[in-house]
């Protein structure tokens, strides 16, 4: 699974993308965030407040119950501020 990070999430995690192989329990966006949160202090800090995180799966906005599969591109980012 490919993860992409944008804006301050990228700064906090220290990378703009990474390949991950989450355990079987990770079946949707909510369980992915839960698992990622436990992957180290940087992840815990970046993902501490879920209300500040938006998620897109394969370039579409996703919800906590959006299902995930192995080849998905999952982007994590803060609320957008363009225009």
């Amino acid at each position: 699974m490919k993860l992409l990070y944008f804006a301050w999430l990228k700064n906090k995690i220290g990378a703009d993308s990474e390949e991950v192989t989450p355990p079987k329990e990770v079946v949707d966006v909510a369980s992915l965030l839960e698992w990622l949160h436990g992957q180290g202090p940087a992840y815990a800090e970046a993902l501490g407040d879920r209300r500040r995180i938006r998620v897109a799966v394969n370039q579409e906005y996703a919800r906590p119950d959006t299902p995930l599969t192995e080849g998905d591109e999952v982007a994590l980012f803060p609320p957008v501020t363009g225009g």
Partner: protein, 151 residues
């Protein structure tokens, strides 16, 4: 319908010329141009850097532009959004819509820019005088502005 994400500046006059050129059915054009401010709240800033999500941005902008064409009888439309480093005073975004009647152009232009601020994957980092870059937090008032189009 045109969507462009680019680092370089654009010329609003020639963009409008291209948008409406030769289409005599067009009765009016509304355009919005966003500029980089030199203040963030009460803090002076020298400029900002714009980041986006390549691929998703284009896809979402094309979709919302198509939706504007479904909602209003538009003859032409344009969205240009710049990315990368920008200075205070620089143009950052341009939205323009053209139609036979003015009300459709006002409403659709307003719709597109409100939507851009709350849904399109762009993030601004403002640059302080000390050269520090601070990510801009989303504002609830922008969300409210966008929500009104769902009613």
């Amino acid at each position: 319908m045109t969507v462009r994400i680019q680092e370089e500046d654009f010329d609003p006059g020639s963009e409008l010329e291209k948008l409406t050129g030769g289409q005599t059915a067009i009765g009016g054009v509304t355009s919005f141009i966003g500029l980089v401010r030199d203040m963030a709240g009460d803090q002076p800033v020298t400029g900002m850097t714009l980041e986006h999500y390549p691929g998703m941005t284009e896809k979402m902008l094309e979709r919302i532009e198509a939706e504007a064409h479904e909602r209003w009888p538009l003859n032409a439309s344009l969205i240009i959004h710049r990315v990368g480093p920008l200075e205070a005073g620089d143009r950052i975004v341009m939205v323009a819509t053209a139609s036979a009647h003015r009300q459709a152009t006002f409403d659709s232009c307003h719709f597109l820019i409100d939507w851009l601020k709350t849904k399109a994957p762009f993030w601004k980092a403002e640059r302080t005088r000390e050269g520090q870059e601070l990510w801009v937090e989303a504002r609830e008032s922008d969300d409210e502005a966008s929500e009104r189009w769902n009613r």
